[in-house]
């Protein structure tokens, strides 16, 4: 048994459990028949292609895309540092950008057929209506998300500026506090967590 574990790389129970999984999905293929999962006329309309494609699209396209977007956001914000425009960024803005972007992405992922009018014919058959309003509604929702986030960030900045002033001596000018550079600084720790 030890020899087996050393070769296999896990407890034999692991193999038994895995075999249970494979037997189950093989039974699915046997019961449904392999031809159920393959479309010989239009290959990409095969169930098998969609099944594997779903995992591949997520891992190889969606994840790299949003990781890249997030990396761009963070490097972009870092590059802006020191520019006059970013003098007041004592409160990190990154999550105030991420939030509405994620909201936009999530709503698009969930509701894109209506937004881009995919399946218009069947939609009309089923409901007697058209998909016309969805793009408009979605854009307004996106606007609301970004607007809310901007408002929340503005409030946070104002709150932060006020606290900074009260914590400093009253003689201080109205210059905003210089950007906080390390997360451990006392200025940052008095600001409640933003997320």
């Amino acid at each position: 048994m030890r020899r087996f574990a050393r070769f296999y790389g896990a407890h034999p129970l692991h193999l038994l459990t895995m075999m249970c999984c494979f037997a189950l999905w093989l039974s699915v293929i046997v019961v449904a028949g392999p031809q159920t999962f393959i479309n010989t006329h239009v290959w990409w309309q095969s169930i098998a292609v969609w099944f594997i494609g779903a995992a591949v699209l997520h891992d190889m396209l969606l994840f790299p895309l949003y990781a890249l977007a997030d990396l761009s956001l963070r490097t972009g914000l870092r590059a802006m540092r020191g520019l006059p425009i970013s003098r007041r960024t004592a409160v990190p803005i990154v999550n105030y950008v991420r939030l509405p972007v994620l909201g936009t992405g999530l709503t698009f992922l969930m509701f894109f057929p209506g937004i881009i009018k995919q399946g218009a014919f069947f939609y009309h058959n089923a409901t007697g209506m058209t998909q016309d309003p969805f793009l408009h509604r979605w854009l307004l929702l996106v606007a609301a998300m970004f607007g809310t986030s901007a408002l929340a960030y503005a409030l946070r900045l104002a709150l932060h500026a006020r606290r900074t002033r009260t914590h400093l001596a009253p003689r201080t000018t109205h210059q905003p506090q210089p950007p906080v550079s390390t997360s451990a600084s006392p200025t940052a720790s008095i600001v409640p967590d933003s997320e």
């Binding site: 790389g9 699209l57 994840f63 997030d70 991420r98 992922l109």
Partner: protein, 588 residues
């Protein structure tokens, strides 16, 4: 991203000891990945083998200035919130490149306490519990790394070593693979376990309600789809007629919860994505087998979400039968889900216990540091500073889930909340009139022609040898019954209206049926997947089962089934047959 600052800075291995120790540690901890027996040994692993580690740490501290110093000098927002993939620099992957950059980004940029914590948390070489009491067993695998490295210079030796599969595996295993540039400090077994626990508690509900829907369609009469499923179904029973909102509940939960869980699923996948890109892709046969099972898990959940999301929005771009695909996809997913839970449950429970939820709720971003690296391999090797706290990340996902809930729940509840489902087909209003409620498939789509529903229309009843035809005025002259019943669609939406019509059991009596066994209702529609439906005697004899003629006090409209439609408690919406032509009663 090829030049991402920390891209592939393998630890320098001038002598084989550090590399060897590291790879043995990784492999052996992987050995125990699943049944969690090695956590103690990981913590306790100490002694001579940890000495090279300390050397590593010194190297990090004294590391010569590097590009990472330049890039990250003032870094505050560097941390990987979402993780990032980059193509590794092949030149940096040489295992013996002693002159490769010893400095690590995190070592330079992380706050001092982070750094200290990370060094403390560096994985100690674990002695594999299964082999630790046997020198003869442990010996070869320990000797392998240095031997294989020298063997690389002697092709003949390599061939010899490759003679056994085991040594081929250990060759792969002991290659100095570069570290992937995943740097989010909140990624780790605890966060993954929180996401996993949420899904573990909720996905079974989605699964069971989905499988119940298959039964609600009436497999006894061959109406469940797909039709032939072998033993792959819940125990079949006659779908009950009480409570009348039963199908509305089960299917509303199935679709609604499925949509609400999307953010959790995506977050869970984000939290484990380093495992997908891990190098080497496979360290042992166990891992190879497990990765195949994970395809059924990940492919399964994403496939179910994708087909479900498309189907409820009438986007049939996939081209295959939704019922077939969603049902079989579910079973493949179940196979992956069950074994994943079986294998990972101990890890999940252990990880959840590793820190209290309350302490996480009390930790802000500034104080968020990575977990100790462990055998799960989820914790970044060089975590950056946090850009979001753990409570923030959980709040973000929960908030996304709540957001999805607000945008979907109105489809099912109807009433005032229906307007909040602004992006879904069934969140829309048809107006305020008595017949302005959700239409499922228009008369035009069913291909009706005026002669079919004009005054000449007659309901044809058959019971045994008896036949009876009734015109709409004759039906209206019979005893009328009024009841509130939902149309609850398999797509998850529902709407409750007040229906008036003749009880189906009165029609059975009118045609002389004594002992009904079942009945088949047929529509005169020309196009449709549910032109004829069979019901059990229970369903037909229920006092609220109607041949509805009017709704909300007015005649049915053509789109709602004029001249007559079936309304029954707790049945799937597609079975509330519109434009009824015949009812055939079968006696026992």
């Amino acid at each position: 991203m090829t030049d991402a600052p920390d891209a592939a800075a393998p630890r320098p291995a001038p002598e084989s000891a550090p590399g060897e120790e590291q790879s043995v540690g990784q492999r052996s901890s992987h050995d125990k990945d699943l049944f969690g027996r090695d956590s103690a040994s990981v913590a306790e692993g100490d002694g001579p083998e940890s000495a090279p580690r300390a050397g590593d740490a010194v190297l990090e501290e004294d590391g010569s200035p590097s590009r990472s110093d330049v890039v990250d000098a003032d870094s505050h927002t560097v941390a990987a919130g979402a993780g990032e993939v980059s193509v590794e620099n092949p030149a940096a992957q040489q295992p013996d490149a002693g002159e490769s950059d010893p400095a690590s980004v995190a070592g330079d940029t992380a706050a001092p306490e982070d750094d200290a914590a990370r060094r403390r948390d560096d994985p100690k070489p674990a002695v594999p519990p299964l082999t630790d009491d046997s020198d003869t067993v442990a010996e070869p695998s320990r000797a392998a790394p240095s031997a294989s490295r020298s063997a690389a210079r002697h092709p003949l030796e390599v061939r010899e070593r490759l003679l056994t599969l085991g040594s081929a595996i250990s060759l792969l295993r002991d290659y100095q693979w570069p570290q992937l540039p995943f740097r989010s400090p909140i990624r780790g077994p605890w966060l993954t376990s929180v996401f996993g626990a949420v899904l573990l508690a909720s996905l079974p509900i989605v699964i069971i309600t989905g499988l119940l829907s298959w039964i609600a369609y009436g497999p006894r009469f061959g109406q469940a789809m797909p039709g032939h499923v072998g033993w792959l179904h819940l125990p079949v029973f006659d779908w009950p007629t009480r409570p009348s909102w039963l199908y509305r509940l089960t299917q509303g939960v199935h679709v609604g919860l499925g949509l609400i869980l999307i953010p959790w699923v995506l977050a869970k996948l984000w939290s484990v994505i380093p495992k997908f890109f891990q190098l080497p892709p496979v360290r042992s046969p166990a891992q190879a087998v497990e990765r195949i099972s994970l395809l059924t898990l990940v492919g399964g959940i994403l496939f179910e979400i994708a087909t479900g999301v498309l189907n409820i929005q009438y986007d049939y771009i996939f081209g295959f039968s939704f019922y077939t695909a969603h049902y079989w996809g579910a079973w493949v997913f179940i196979s992956g889900f069950v074994v994943h839970v079986a294998v990972k449950l101990p890890t999940m429970l252990r990880s959840l216990r590793s820190r209290s939820f309350r302490s996480v709720l009390g930790t802000n971003r500034a104080h968020t540091v990575a977990e100790a690296r462990d055998e799960t391999g989820l914790v970044a090797a060089h975590p950056g500073p946090a850009t979001i706290s753990r409570r923030g990340a959980i709040g973000l996902v929960a908030g996304g889930s709540l957001f999805a809930a607000i945008l979907t729940i109105g489809e099912t509840t109807g009433g005032f909340l229906r307007r909040t489902a602004i992006l879904l087909p069934r969140g829309r209003s048809y107006g305020n009139g008595p017949t302005d409620f959700q239409i499922n498939r228009t008369a035009a789509a069913a291909g009706l022609t005026p002669d079919q529903y004009s005054d000449g229309w007659q309901l044809k009843l058959t019971g045994g040898a008896n036949r009876l035809s009734l015109s709409r005025p004759q039906l209206l002259a019979m005893e009328q019954h009024t009841v509130d019943l939902p149309i609850a669609c398999v797509e998850g939406w529902s709407t409750v209206q007040t229906w008036t019509g003749v009880r189906l059991r009165d029609l059975a009596a009118a045609v002389g049926v004594q002992h009904m066994e079942s009945a088949r209702v047929k529509s005169f529609e020309r196009f449709g997947a549910f032109t004829s439906v069979q019901f059990t005697a229970d369903q037909m004899l229920h006092p609220d089962s109607l041949l509805a003629l009017r709704v909300n006090g007015v005649d049915l409209t053509l789109d709602h089934g004029f001249p007559a439609r079936i309304m029954m408690p707790a049945i799937p919406g597609v079975h509330t047959t519109k434009w009824v032509e015949t009812i055939k009663f079968r006696e026992s």
